[in-house]
């Protein structure tokens, strides 16, 4: 190994950093995304990477993975300067990625996925399946997790997908692991398992880049944090030397009040808008009843699999009700499909914006207008001028940051994509808005904007149902919280009866 290490002494156990990125710059067209970023991960370090929407986190990581090529700057892996021209180069250098959108083939087994393209062969031709299974089992043993390598990935829960992803990277001898929001789809105990695993990997000398918006996690597992803002390195600090307020401020660029609960005046004679009465569908929705008043925000809390999402799907007519009824303004409504629900002035902001919320290849404008086509018709034809006006007004009203609404929505950042989904639905002027994980994978700045938006909607007299696995967020907006367990409403709590996140956590866990 040629030692070409540069000046400033790294804060690390061994003196050569596992990853050293110096003065990395990258621009798309004329849009500068990274302007001379320094980033460094020591051997066996968990290094958190944070930053707002468009701060350049994902671009920096894509350069490290060989997906994008840098315009200028130097990358050194274990002190050796490297040029990645493809993902394969990065893999060969020991960079592994745990994808946010999992990169596994559901129809193959765990072992087949782990050794995809690196299958152990007999005579260079035939795959030695048994050896692959044995090797996979060994990897899992090292990781101290219990997964059957012969199981079909599609039959496993999301938590196992992630573990399989990690095992895949391990099997390819990754020394540096990039984890992007790894706990986004995990329940609390699953997340805890993951943190333990991260600890073990770290002890084994693996370096981890940990991208997360959740402060609590970052403090729990990371050694240092680097915050990017506007394509520049804002700070790199040991977590023992930095306060959460400072980090949040660094990400948002200003103090935020968004996450604090703001008591709203709900004293006026409340008008019942929506009533759910004994809703039952499958095993995930069991005899659920609740009422929702005009101007009210209800939070739905519960672990993964508690039926939160399924309840939302029933209310919006995607899943069929087996029994029970839904009333709007006291009138029974038939929500046998989403069209009926829309007619009854319900709207659902779905959980997975990429799969369920957006047509990614279509333009921002076309996506915004999709539920509103009736509004921009003149006779039989669509009036493009009117459409453009309506789309522009929505873009403005919801502060979507978009240079050209005629370009595909897939080019926007996650936060802005989410705003497009919300704007699209609010254009239909719904009375009841159901939002399933409205801030998942969104930076804190946008999160605050979305929470403010939710409060404003309630002020305007709409009723909102918010589903979220982030308790801080639920507590920030909800007037009441319904706690679901095994498909049934376990408890209904008024906001003022919940002291803090911890007590909500206890209520959800049922302890």
């Amino acid at each position: 190994m040629t030692d070409v290490q540069a000046a400033p002494a790294p804060v690390a156990e061994t003196d050569v950093p596992a990853v050293e990125m110096r003065e990395i710059s990258k621009a798309f067209d004329s849009n500068v995304v990274l302007a001379g970023v320094d980033f460094e991960v020591a051997q066996g370090e968990v290094h958190a990477l944070a930053g707002g929407n468009g701060a350049g986190k994902s671009t920096l990581m894509k350069i490290l993975q060989g997906v994008y090529s840098k315009d200028s700057g130097v990358i050194r892996i274990n002190g050796r300067e490297v040029e990645f021209s493809s993902i394969h180069d990065a893999k060969a250098a020991g960079i592994g990625m745990v994808f946010q959108e999992f990169s596994l083939v559901p129809s193959l087994t765990v072992a087949q996925n782990i050794y995809l393209t690196t299958e152990p062969l007999r005579n260079g031709i035939f795959i030695r399946d048994r050896e692959a299974v044995d090797k996979a089992r060994e990897v899992f043993q090292q990781m101290e997790v219990d997964i059957d390598p012969g199981a079909r990935v599609g039959d496993l829960g999301t938590a196992y997908w992630q573990l399989t992803e990690i095992a895949k990277a391990m099997a390819q001898d990754a020394r540096v692991l990039i984890m992007d929001e790894p706990t986004a789809s995990l329940a609390k105990h699953e997340a805890d398992q993951l943190f333990e695993l991260v600890g073990r990997l770290k002890a084994g000398g693996i370096s981890i880049v940990y991208i997360s918006h959740r402060m609590e996690e970052v403090y729990r597992i990371a050694d240092r944090i680097t915050i990017l803002r506007d394509g520049k390195n804002l700070l790199t600090e040991r977590l023992t030397d930095v306060t959460p307020e400072k980090i949040v401020e660094g990400i948002v660029g200003q103090q935020i009040e968004g996450l604090a609960y703001q008591a709203r005046d709900t004293s006026a004679e409340p008008e019942i808008l929506l009533e759910a009465d004994g809703l039952t569908a499958g095993s995930r929705v069991q005899n659920v009843s609740f009422t929702l008043h005009r101007g009210e925000i209800i939070g739905l809390a519960g672990l993964m699999g508690s039926g939160r999402t399924e309840l939302a799907r029933c209310l919006f007519g995607i899943d069929k009700l087996e029994s029970g009824e839904i009333r709007m303004h006291g009138q029974r409504i038939d929500v046998s499909d989403p069209r009926e629900a829309i007619k009854a002035r319900l709207a659902l902001i779905p959980e997975d914006r990429r799969a369920q919320g957006l047509v990614l290849e279509h333009s921002v404008r076309d996506n915004l207008l999709l539920p509103l086509l009736r509004k921009i018709e003149r006779g039989l034809l669509i009036d493009d001028g009117k459409g453009k006006e309506l789309a522009d007004s929505l873009i403005q009203r919801f502060a979507v940051k978009v240079a050209n609404p005629a370009r595909p929505v897939r080019l926007l950042s996650g936060g802005n994509q989410q705003k497009v989904v919300i704007a699209k639905w609010l254009g239909t002027e719904p009375e009841v808005l159901i939002m399933d994980e409205p801030t998942a994978g969104v930076d804190i700045g946008t999160k605050t904007e979305i929470l403010t938006m939710i409060r404003n909607l309630a002020e305007e007299g709409k009723a909102v149902i918010v589903i979220s696995s982030e308790y801080a967020e639920l507590l920030a907006v909800s007037d009441r919280v319904l706690i679901l367990r095994d498909g049934a409403v376990q408890q209904e709590l008024a906001r003022q009866d919940i002291a803090d996140e911890e007590s909500l956590q206890h209520a959800v866990q049922g302890v």
């Binding site: 067209d29 369920q356 047509v359 290849e361 333009s363 669509i382």
Partner: protein
Amino acid sequence: MTQTTKPATEGGGAVAVERRSRFATLDWRRYVIYIGFVVIFIFFAILLGNQGFLSPNNLLNILRQTATITVIAVGMTYVISCAEIDLSVGSVAGLASVVTAMAVANWGVVAGVIVGLLVGVVVGSINGGLVAGLGIPSFLVTLGMLGIAFGLAQWITGSAPQPILSYAYNLAFGSGNLGPFPGLVVWMAIFVAVGAIVLSKTRFGRQVLATGGNRMAAEFTGINTKRIKFEVLLISGTVAAFAGMLYAGRLQSGRFQWGQGDELSAIAAVILGGTSLFGGSGTVIGTLFGALLIGLINNGLILAGLDASQQQVIRGVIIILAVALARKK
């Protein structure tokens, strides 16, 4: 994809720069079919100018020969934009041609037209019903239907051609002229115009594109994606039946072989025109030029004296080349 909306005109340096560099790097790929059309046209014009390539008669001939494929391809554009496929169109055209011919002979022109279209409506409904209702892949349903329609057409006619003696029918459907324009070309223009407007300018068109682009998101948005899938297959079947009636009018007879293999030419025209094979984007005008390009190549190669086998090879090469050039990086 095809932008169904015009680019934004609002100011802002970043936006302008962004757009300019996009033209420089990417945009020509979207127009490759038009560029290819012009280039090949000029190529033939120079090479074959003195062999009558540029004579009005020859140019009209190209249009005439392309007309029926274009009509079928207009319907196919909807199906492919919606991320489905219809392999039965060629045999539906053949079946419609014989049914129309028999109905004209027995019950007159009006009945013939109605019954002919009905063939398309029925076959399209069956295709659509099986795909949308039962969720069977359209590739399989329409592959089956290809055989059924072809077999039926052969069976009910005993493989014999069915002459159409009605002067009025033949005049209206393909043999006549409207002013200087062959009737076939007029029909083609009507189908292209209506098809283009409906796909890019109506709610239905947008819903077809959204369903093809991301069915789940479309469903969550309240679009009845089953109905849309049913409707595109219904359209494609009906339009194919109309194309069969044009065959019958032009050739003054119905025959089970009419339209045989047209499904592949139509798919080629649609894909050449820039419609995504995976759904979500589609352009009828592109399809027209895709079909014209194929017609142009056929005509040029014939004039150049190549025989049918050589034509096929060269046509195949050009299609692959065009699609490769249009491919996104």
